[in-house]
């Protein structure tokens, strides 16, 4: 609020001189006020409630204001006609904290009165300052109060809390009953917009979270300002509609939160001897020791006491956000509707949908159906898929069910498939944030409760552990459109990351150990994974992946900061520990998010660049060493035993023959169970020379082909896939020492042929075998399909780049092609390679949107390609792919 300048305490005539002869001169008032202040403080420290303390402070201020005002009128020999004093803001609401300002308005009947009384007003303020009150005053005529000062919204908002203090009561009545109701009605849209604006700015300044390690109990989200803003919104919105929008239970929670935060704020003011509202670690410990705000006198651990703080802060913040985001009221028949729902088994929504979007928020179409947890989770899945948050009303309804046992929920056990859907979507943070607010996150993942609102003292971290964890996820989903340059490199990594669900589960669990009595939090987090994996029934491979990511979640950051990332030996050692490109991608995203969420400045552009450099170097290391690291089967004792255990009567020698010579990546990207299945196919090669396995995956299908190596094999397989209208997204082509190839293709079924006609799978496999065995030609299959697809213009143009590298491999020439992806591309490349008699030793095929990124290790007659052959190949491919 814009106020008159505070009077100087030093120059001018001492006020007591002007009040000489008064029955209560300043020399008496000052010590009296100070003694009363001390008494109030002692009583607070002895256990008097904050509410009582605020009331006493307010009465003390009122008493002195009225007394000094009366004395000055007497000294100046005039009456109060045409002048009155109003308390505004917190003082107006009778919430005057020990070192808060007294917001006082001098209301003047007209400008003439203002001229006459200026010396009196000035002396009044100075006198209050001199007896220890911090005055923040403003003067307005009645006429001026009618006008809306658009650059001074704070003043108008403070006026909402007006209270008569002293002076011309009739003047106040005029203002209160006539002038302001009319102007406030007119100014309602302006005031609402200003509350929204000021509140949003404040919340943003504090990162939109209540979970600060050292919160400001006035300004932070969840602080007293949230309460104040809620009161204003209620005043404006509810008065207009003439309805009550808060249940009695919510009022009760809110009152408890205000009492708790008021106690803290009084304590902070007294401890700091000034209007400083930061709840520092030191004062958290002191407050916990005296069970501040709890009242039972039993000392708590600071972390436990802070959980109480966050619980209350969450109440105030949630109420505020509900008013901010949702202007429309919900009828109070909600409870009845929910109760009726619980009695009815029917939960089918109209039109088969459970949600709709209104004002950019997800609403539950059928509120009663929310007692069925399966429907509630489908709402969260929709939020995670679309990035549309649940409305506060939808959250409120879910919250109501959660806290009312007479509305028993159905289907409370979430399946891993359902949770995967939420975690693996583009915006998992949107759903998880909402689930956390409602307490559902800990129902789904009880391990997360160990870090709920947990303060761990740390020089760098700014947020509680749970808030840090959720922020990691939000920073990843932000990569859909990164807000600054730090995220730019990581956008494609996020967009193409596989098994994001496992990455997000890792982020939820990676710091859970901080809430456990263990020396190293990673050990605790891994124990939490054990219990979560068992309950959610993760597969051994899924659990192993999350285990790796949790166990190594600090490795990439440590390597960036403590190793020379431009040293090939560092990169090689790091790559060896990470094992696969896919895992590197997840670890890099995890590290990016983890550093970013420590505090807003922790991920400097410098660190982001270092992290990216390590990623690129390690990724290239994987591509360039594919055929260098070959398996020597007898060294893989444990794997041999695991495969043998699944492979029945096979001998170790047989398994060794199968594995010998595969690139090490083969082990890294396939589980023991998959290798055992491949081995079973390998054993059948003697009777059926082309073995295939076709599996439906989350994003399409995967095809594994085992057969003896032969010219143009890769081109032929990719040609059959193209002929069937399949678009290859990823592929690995490996060969063992005995010349058996094992190619895996991950593809999208563009025309839904296999998806809609399961019987076509067998025909597809037969078609592939026939072409590979020379029983059917490839060309007719390809002709119509590929030409039709090529006719479509690409949305994004990717320039073709072909690079050769003779240095990375001792035996092969590495060729990397980056080009526009299109159906049949791999067949075109493979055919060109076959025509020029290039043998594919290893291939790694990937796509990123419209870009195909393919790496081939090639030989010609068993040797690296000659320079002439490389140039010819470049020319042919450039001609084919343009």
């Amino acid at each position: 609020m814009t106020t008159a300048a505070r009077p100087s305490l030093t120059p001018g005539i001492p006020p007591e001189k002007n009040m000489q002869g008064s029955p209560t001169p300043l020399s008496v008032l000052g010590p009296q006020a100070e003694a009363e202040r001390q008494r109030i403080r002692q009583q607070f420290e002895a256990g008097t409630s904050a509410r009582e303390t605020l009331r006493a402070l307010c009465e003390l201020a009122d008493h002195n204001v009225q007394q000094i005002f009366g004395e000055l009128l007497r000294v100046h020999n005039r009456d109060a006609q045409g002048l009155c004093l109003l308390a505004l803001g917190g003082y107006g609401r009778r919430m005057l904290f020990p070192y808060s300002d007294l917001d006082i308005l001098f209301l003047l009947g007209n400008e003439r009165v203002e001229q006459e009384l200026r010396p009196l007003i000035s002396e009044f303020s100075r006198t209050l300052w001199d007896i220890g009150f911090r005055v923040s005053s403003a003067g307005r005529t009645l006429e001026e109060c009618k006008r809306i000062e658009e650059d001074n919204a704070e003043f108008h908002l403070a006026l909402l809390d007006r209270r008569f203090l002293a002076g011309d009561a009739a003047l106040f009545e005029k203002l209160d009953a006539k002038v302001l109701p009319a102007s406030e009605k007119q100014a309602r849209p302006f005031l609402l917009a200003q509350i929204h604006l000021l509140t949003r700015e404040r919340l943003t300044r504090f990162g939109n979270t209540i979970f600060h390690l050292e919160p400001n109990v006035k300004e932070s989200p969840g602080g007293m300002r949230d309460y104040q803003a809620t009161i204003w919104l209620r005043q404006i919105v509810e008065e207009k509609r003439g309805i009550r929008n808060v249940t009695a239970a919510e009022e009760e929670l809110s009152a408890a939160a205000v009492d708790f935060l008021s106690a803290i704020r009084c304590f902070l003011h007294y401890s700091n001897a000034r209007n400083d509202n930061t709840l520092t670690y030191e004062l958290q410990a002191a407050a916990a020791e005296r069970a501040l705000g709890i009242g039972d006198g039993v000392a708590r651990a600071p972390a436990e006491w802070m959980r109480q703080y966050f619980r209350h802060a969450r109440t105030l913040n949630r109420q505020l956000l509900r008013y901010l985001e949702q202007k429309a009221p919900v009828p109070l028949s909600l409870r009845q509707r929910l109760f009726n729902a619980a009695r009815s088994a029917k939960s089918e929504p109209a039109g088969g949908r459970y949600s709709s979007v209104r004002d950019g928020l997800l609403e539950a179409v059928d509120l009663p159906s929310l007692s069925d947890r399966a429907i509630t989770y489908s709402l969260f899945a929709e939020a995670a898929r679309t990035g549309t948050p649940l409305s506060r009303e939808a959250e409120r309804s879910i919250g109501y069910i959660l806290t009312h046992p007479e509305l028993p929920p159905k289907n409370t056990q979430i399946s891993w498939a359902t949770l995967r859907e939420i975690l693996g979507s583009d915006y998992p943070g949107v759903a998880l944030r909402s689930m956390q607010r409602l307490g559902l996150l800990t129902e789904v993942l009880p391990e997360f409760a160990m870090i709920d609102s947990l303060v761990v003292r740390d020089f760098y971290h700014r947020y509680t552990v749970d808030e840090h964890s959720l922020r990691t996820i939000e920073h990843l989903q932000e990569l859909a459109a990164p807000p600054d340059e730090r995220g730019a490199h990581f956008v494609p990594l996020w967009k193409t990351a596989e098994r994001r669900d496992l990455l997000i589960l890792t982020l939820l669990l990676h710091d859970v150990g901080k809430g456990m009595p263990v020396e190293n939090h990673v050990t605790g987090s891994l124990a939490a994974l054990d219990s979560a994996a068992k309950r959610l029934q993760l597969s051994p491979e899924e659990k192993e992946e999350v285990h790796f990511l949790i166990e190594h979640h600090l490795d990439m950051s440590a390597t960036v900061q403590r190793r020379d990332i431009f040293d090939p030996a560092t990169v090689s050692a790091f790559a060896q520990s990470v094992t696969t490109l896919e895992r590197l991608q997840r670890l890099c995203l995890l590290t990016y998010a983890d550093i970013h969420s420590v505090n807003p400045e922790a991920l400097t552009p410098w660190k982001a660049e270092m992290l990216w450099q390590l990623f690129v170097a390690t990724s290239n290391h994987f591509s360039r060493t594919l055929d260098r690291d070959r398996l020597h089967a007898p060294d893989e004792g444990s794997l041999l035993q695991r495969v043998k255990a699944k492979a029945g009567d096979a001998t170790i020698e047989e398994i060794e023959r199968f594995l010998e010579g595969f690139p090490r990546r083969y082990l890294a990207v396939h589980s023991a169970a998959e290798i055992a299945a491949h081995f079973e196919l390998y054993r059948k090669l003697g009777t059926v020379p082309v073995q295939t396995e076709l599996l439906a995956t989350r994003h399409g299908f995967s095809l594994t082909v085992l057969t003896a190596d032969r010219p143009a094999l890769f081109a032929t397989i990719s040609g059959v896939l193209a002929g069937w209208g399949m678009n290859i997204n990823k592929a690995d082509a490996f060969a063992n020492a005995a010349g058996v190839i094992l190619d895996t293709f991950h593809f999208a079924d563009l025309h839904h042929t296999l998806e809609l006609n399961p019987s076509e799978a067998e025909r597809f496999r037969k078609s592939l075998a026939d072409v590979l065995n020379g029983k059917a030609p490839l060309e007719p299959l390809l002709k119509s399909r590929v030409s039709a697809s090529r006719a479509r213009a690409p949305k994004v143009t990717v320039e073709t780049r072909i690079n050769f590298d003779d240095a990375s491999s001792a035996h092969s020439t590495l060729m990397e092609i980056v080009t526009q992806d299109h159906p049949g591309l791999l067949h075109e490349i493979g055919s060109a390679l076959a025509r020029l008699e290039c043998n594919i030793e290893v291939a790694l095929i990937d796509t990123e949107g419209h870009k195909a990124i393919d790496v081939f290790y090639l030989t010609g007659q068993g040797k690296k390609l000659t320079t002439q052959k490389q140039e010819l190949l470049r020319e042919v491919l450039q001609g084919t792919l343009v």
Partner: protein
Amino acid sequence: MMKIEAIIQPSRFESVKDALREIGIEGMTVTEVRGHGRQKGHTEVYRGREYTVDLLPKIKLEMVLPDALVNRAVDTILKTAKTGKIGDGKIFLSRVEEAIRIRNEERGENAL
């Protein structure tokens, strides 16, 4: 009093900091910087895009020390920051005329 500015490899920072602490030097200013001397940058190709790193990441340490400590500090930095490879960084020394502690206005070496 001398001011020491040391540009070192990020990977050596923790070791240098610990070694300086061992000889009683706690106070320093640390900045993440980029640059190059004789060690030029390099180019990485990733997924068809060239990423040229011509300004390499380094850490800059700055500290002002009493004359008596300067040689020990320089020796310590040399010993712990050196890997023997190009790009290990540099140390710059310059004379400082005055130091003033803002809190109590102490001056000279007492302010360090």
